[in-house]
Amino acid sequence: MKKSILIILAFALVAGAAIGYYMYNKPVETLESQDAAAEISATALFSEFSENETEAMANYEGKVLAIEGSLIEKMENSDGSTTLILDGGDPIFGVKCRLDPSVDGEAIPAKGEPVRLKGLCIGMNADVEMNQCIIL
């Protein structure tokens, strides 16, 4: 009787440690399986942020958004990942979207083409920023 309790306890301990180790080392998940909380054009998103940043932060920050807009700039980052700028209706700034490193370069449209993507909205720093984006 005592022995079986000990075995169960030992088992629970090992399982607990394994779960803990797994949770601790869990990588950042891609947004592939997450549904977008809202769908919005890049120009509408940019104008909402420029008109009232506090309100736009409350509405969009930390949310997965599906956005659509015209691709005006493609930049290669120092790690080889790509950042896209979508036209926000402003002469200099727009919606800056860092693509997830897993995104296939072939799937990125050419400059001037429309693009639709899903990403995590993280706020405004001159440009409205989106992280972990994937092309839809």
């Binding site: 601790y24 950042v28 920050e61 790690d79 800056k96 993280i122 720093n125 001159a126």
Partner: protein, 183 residues
Amino acid sequence: MKTIITVLLITVTTALSAQTKYFTRNGTVTFFSSAPMEDITAENYNATAVLDTETGAVEFSVLMKSFNFKKALMQEHFNENYVESDKFPKSTFKAKIVNMDKIDLTKDGSYPAEVEGEMTIHGVTKSITPEGTIVVKDGAVNLESKFIVKPEDYEIEIPDVVREKIAKEIEVTVLADLEPLKR
């Protein structure tokens, strides 16, 4: 009247030809923490930086939530417990390159830059004087710098439980490939 027009024309043409503002929106800021239990790196590839070569004024800004970690739990703890990204979404560094007059942007080369400025992280502003390098090549201006940031200087509290996993001194590396600002 003619003189006024000539003066005006000269002023306008010099203003147009003298490119003094350089800019990037995909600068790299990484930090590295080396502690007995674990080494941690976080990378941000979307830093914004502006350099005015006439005055030597330079400004960096990043959104804290664009730092990418390898482990989900670390990213969550960084944003929620340490830098409190919801309360303080942005970090900035507003500085001046004090020896700008010794840096010749028309000549390719690597120049040491003496920087003095104010760093704001977690809502706390500190004066720092990091050293940097400006590399000029084919009209492009690259900034590089490496310096130490102490979390406690910015009132970032690291609980004792994770003390062995997070260094007291974090090494920050900044790289920015700047291009003339187009209007």
